[in-house]
Point group: C2
Chain length 238, copies 2
């Protein structure tokens, strides 16, 4: 009785994660997007309920996941990664609101995998050290500043902070540092841009820094995630 | 006698791709980064040569891959994704230069997976529709403008072009559109920012748009990739 939001990867069925494939093979119910590889849908057990979401609006889909999640092991199979233009956060919040446990199983986003399949690396020494990700459909939807993700930023957090402040981010923008992410040693510090360098001083590399209003979703989303994330340190400045 | 540049994912060994795991299990030689999960290294066959690259500089590593790739099925296992701050492009170019075939097998980047493990979606409707990815270590390395990736941008390519031009991208910045990426239906159009909207008019969704100087690496990298990418349409404006 858990809903797993599983990333199916960019198209090639071989690019699903080992864990995602295992969950599909053990599910009672599979709810999948249209663009998910049919080979992956075929991995569900023969007696599983398989639902294509074609034509189902997001609100109705959220309600469906809540209903099914109360009594079943549900895999919600989404193209790419659930948290990169996947609306996984909306589905997760709907589950949290109804006390249905959920888990997010990341997938290979099209972001780097599709360019790679065409022979294009997103970053390359001496050519490009930064990536910007936008959507052609965001125009109609009012949103705030972009989320900024910093790789290898732990040692240079004061410089990162100064740069983002200079670019116009507010000092009270929520900021998180996640060290040893996805492993049993994961540690999370949640703070704001002004204080994150000091608050994260005790962490060790590797660590990823996330700056943006999405960080504030963490507390709402974690209410529904009893697993790994709950064990993480949470020194919240808010 | 191929070198596979395989993304190991963000840390959790369950987040390697199914294809990546299969390749590890069938390799002759495994060359892995320090931060790769030991559970994945242990999946190599008992008689495989396993090499940790600790302390090996990038130049020496490139030469090692070339030497081993001439006679062996080599898996080069890298943390995260090979083409997101993974220096996979450099290793690939070294292999191309010596006519050693290679393949890139994308992995789950820490980019979205690590925030997800901490309960943070990178994008969320009404909160953030864009993501910026930077590194804390780029300061010492001169690079050009960021790579821009556009999701769901095929229908709005003229608007995307106008926006990027207004932001200061040169009209002759290399640009690619990849439709149905990583699948047998993959189609690629390579052009420049000024012409990409016209040149990609015949493609169908889903498609990803990539704008930046990294696109120009494609021709050099594809010389070493005889597989899927070679079957793609290549209408190069350059």
């Amino acid at each position: 009785v858990t809903v797993r939001l599983v990333g199916a990867g960019p198209g090639d069925p071989g690019l699903i994660t080992a864990r995602g494939l295992e969950l599909i093979r053990g599910c009672d119910v599979l709810v999948h997007d249209r663009l998910v590889a049919p080979e992956l849908v075929a991995e569900a057990p023969g007696d599983a309920l398989v639902i294509a979401r074609d034509g189902t609006g997001q609100e109705a889909l959220n309600r469906l996941l809540v209903e099914l999640g109360r009594d079943h092991e549900v895999v919600r199979l989404k193209g790419g990664d659930p948290f990169v233009y996947g609306r996984g956060g909306e589905e997760a919040l709907a589950l949290v609101a109804e006390d249905v446990p959920f888990e997010v199983v990341p997938g290979v986003s099209s972001l780097a995998a599709v360019p790679a399949a065409a022979g294009i690396p997103l970053t390359h020494r001496g050519i490009a050290a930064e990536v910007r990700v936008v959507t052609g459909r965001s125009a109609g939807c009012e949103t705030g500043p972009p989320t900024t993700v910093v790789f290898m930023g732990l040692e240079s957090l004061p410089e990162v902070r100064d740069r983002l402040l200079a670019e116009g981010y507010s000092p009270d923008t929520p900021a998180a540092v996640v060290a040893h992410g996805t492993t049993p040693d994961q540690e999370v510090v949640v703070s704001d841009l002004a204080s994150v360098a000091e608050d994260a001083a005790g962490l060790s590399a590797p660590a990823l820094v996330v700056v943006g209003e999405v960080v504030a979703l963490r507390e709402r989303l974690l209410a529904g995630q009893p697993a790994a994330a709950g064990a993480a340190r949470h020194s919240c400045a808010a």
